[in-house]
């Protein structure tokens, strides 16, 4: 009984050592996923000067965007590069970039700027894979009825390790 416990302890120690030694060599390769999407037009209502309107561009990661044979392997985000458009003729535009883990409805977001670009590290180490999604939300006031339309497109590039 006692020797069995000792063996377990040895295996446990081996496991810890393996975990430490293999950590850096596991997620060694990196790939990049890029999509460009025009956000949808904003419906301008009569009270659009006081009630913000919000539309978005959706960047979903499909199985076809992932190397075959690695679909189930763990992957982690290592940066998110973005560029945003803007809605001409509107006021106080605000933009959020949100990340949804695979097949999750909940999101984590951070504010960015309209008509701008940058590279975020805020979502690094979050799990990534098909079913993951980035959404860029544009919130505006005002606009000319019936729709305020975006001047261009939003773009998202996710670099991930696997």
């Amino acid at each position: 009984m006692k020797s069995s416990k000792s063996i377990n302890k040895v295996w446990l120690a081996v496991g810890v050592v393996l975990t430490i030694f293999t950590k850096n060599s596991v997620l060694a390769a990196e790939g990049v996923f890029t999509k460009t999407v025009a956000p949808t037009p904003v419906l301008v209502l009569s009270n659009s000067n006081t009630v913000p309107s919000r539309e978005f561009a959706n960047f979903s990661v499909l199985a076809a965007d992932i190397p075959s044979g690695t679909l189930q392997d763990p992957k982690q985000i290592s940066e998110i590069r973005w560029s945003t458009t803007y809605y001409p003729g509107t006021l106080s535009e605000k933009v959020e970039l949100c990340y949804f883990r695979s097949f999750s409805a909940e999101k984590d977001c951070r504010d960015i700027f309209p008509s701008s670009s940058g590279v975020l590290m805020d979502f690094n180490n979050q799990s990534f894979g098909h079913g993951s999604k980035v959404t860029i939300f544009h919130t505006v006031l005002g606009g000319t009825p019936p729709y305020a339309r975006p001047a261009g497109v939003d773009s998202v590039t996710i670099k991930y390790s696997y």
């Binding site: 975990t19 850096n24 390769a29 044979g69 605000k94 977001c109 008509s115 940058g118």
Partner: protein, 448 residues
């Protein structure tokens, strides 16, 4: 060089220079009081007229000889219907005179309209702005005229911009301004994809709603533009929607053009923010202190609440146990200006912090697969049909995981790990060893 007297006269009248030759529009109304700064520079008791002053003078002369031209017509090219139809053309327009100052100001005006730059006519009074907006003599670009027109619009009192009758009490004001059709029940976070476009005011708590109603009533009684309250409500609604801010990442920086760049409140706002956070009123304020700390965090506030910090301070204090001792809101809140990020945010580029070079092997751009230059240099090939990235020496029949020796195009695996050693055993693992299940499998397969 042209010199003028600094004297002013009545509206739409002119200031004559000592030689009687040059005229510029006067600055008489309170909002015109600071108009001298961009127009002229003082030198030994005389005033040197800038290019802008000369242009304004010319515009004023043109305005006095309308030749059948109506003011409303002169605004058509810069109002929404026509302006946005030709936006690309307006953005590309340059002044006819090849003067660096004019070119710079035209670029600044375009940048301002697109949210990148500050207002080139900041500080000008309503009279000067109207001259610019209505001048179709070619002295100003269409975008410059548009900036002037927008600035005048933002200076208009709320009664002009919003002619609807003001509701009789704060609660009615709140409901009419913040909801489409009557007041809905309190919606509950978390923020999800499904509620992504829902009106975030729905997430305001009952206490929030009571407080906001009182804020509208107070602001109205003080003659303030209610859009000051609106801006505060948007920020509070966002806070509630994102689970009291827990789903919003705070970070006042990211990489721009490969360099780490931070965004902070301008010094005046930072001073006020610090004052709010250390004030005794915050503890007794009806405004949720958690929200106040959240929105005054530069990692949040610089993106979403720039320009609103002075009003927040007034509200924190007014709706605290110290509220009775607070002075009236003051004339600065009678009007509302939509804040531009460039006017309220200090941007710092940290040239010493550069984005690490990418070591991605491949990229998938809108569904199209390609090897990166790095991947090619590292000896990888891409089987597009099967979405496989591998080194040619590896067996093509095995799904390849480029997991080892990725140390750069010129490098080799500098440090072999224990896993590399395991890779040489009789049954090399085909999976990635990271989760507990994998670990047990590894232990089982391990044959020393």
């Amino acid at each position: 060089m042209i010199t003028i007297s600094p004297n002013t006269s009545s509206s739409n009248s002119r200031v004559m220079n000592e030689s009687g030759g040059i005229v510029i529009p006067s600055t008489v109304s309170p909002d015109n009081a600071q108009a001298d700064a961009p127009l002229s520079t003082r030198n030994a008791g005389t005033t040197t007229v800038s290019i802008l002053a000369r242009q304004l003078s010319d515009a004023a002369q043109r305005a006095e000889t309308p030749v059948g031209q109506k003011n409303a017509d002169s605004l058509e090219p810069i109002t929404d219907e026509q302006y946005f139809a030709n936006k690309a053309q307006h953005d590309a327009e340059t002044p006819t005179a090849n003067d660096p100052e004019l070119l710079a100001r035209a670029r600044q005006a375009t940048g301002f309209l697109n949210g990148h730059d500050s207002n080139p006519f900041k500080g000008l009074g309503r009279d000067q702005l109207n001259l610019i907006a209505r001048d179709n003599g070619g002295a100003f670009t269409v975008n410059e005229r548009r900036v002037a027109w927008e600035t005048v619009q933002s200076m208009a009192p709320s009664g002009v911009s919003y002619p609807e009758p003001v509701p009789i009490n704060g609660r009615e004001t709140f409901i009419s301004r913040m909801f489409h059709n009557g007041e809905p029940p309190v919606a509950l976070p978390p923020a999800t994809f499904e509620n992504g476009t829902q009106n975030r005011n729905d997430f305001l708590t009952l206490d929030d709603r009571a407080l906001i109603s009182d804020m509208y009533a107070y602001a109205h009684s003080e003659g303030a533009d209610l859009r000051h309250v609106d801006r505060l409500v948007y920020a509070l609604a966002d806070y509630r929607y994102f689970s009291d801010g827990r789903q919003l990442i705070s970070n006042n920086g990211y990489y721009v053009d490969e360099y780490w760049t931070t965004f902070d409140f301008k010094p005046e706002d930072a001073t006020i923010a610090s004052r709010i956070l250390s004030s005794s009123a915050l503890g007794s304020s009806r405004i949720d202190p958690g929200f106040v700390k959240h929105i005054l965090d530069p990692g949040i506030g610089v993106y979403s609440h720039f320009g609103g910090i002075p009003f927040l301070e007034r509200m924190v204090k007014k709706f605290s146990s110290e509220g009775a001792d607070q002075p009236p809101l003051g004339s600065e809140y009678v009007t509302f200006n939509y804040a531009k990020a460039a006017d309220h945010i200090v941007t710092t580029t940290h040239k010493d912090i550069k984005l690490p070079p990418s070591e991605a092997l491949f990229e998938v751009v809108n569904g199209v697969w390609n090897l990166t230059e790095y991947g090619k240099a590292a000896g990888y090939v891409l089987d597009v049909a099967n979405r496989r990235v591998y080194k040619p020496e590896e067996p093509a029949s095995v799904p390849t995981h480029p997991v080892s020796n990725v140390n750069g195009p010129d490098g080799e695996a500098s440090n072999k790990t224990f896993l590399d050693a395991l890779g040489e055993t009789r049954e090399p693992p085909q999976a990635h060893w990271i989760w507990p299940g994998h670990l047990f499998k590894l232990m089982k397969n391990f044959k020393p």
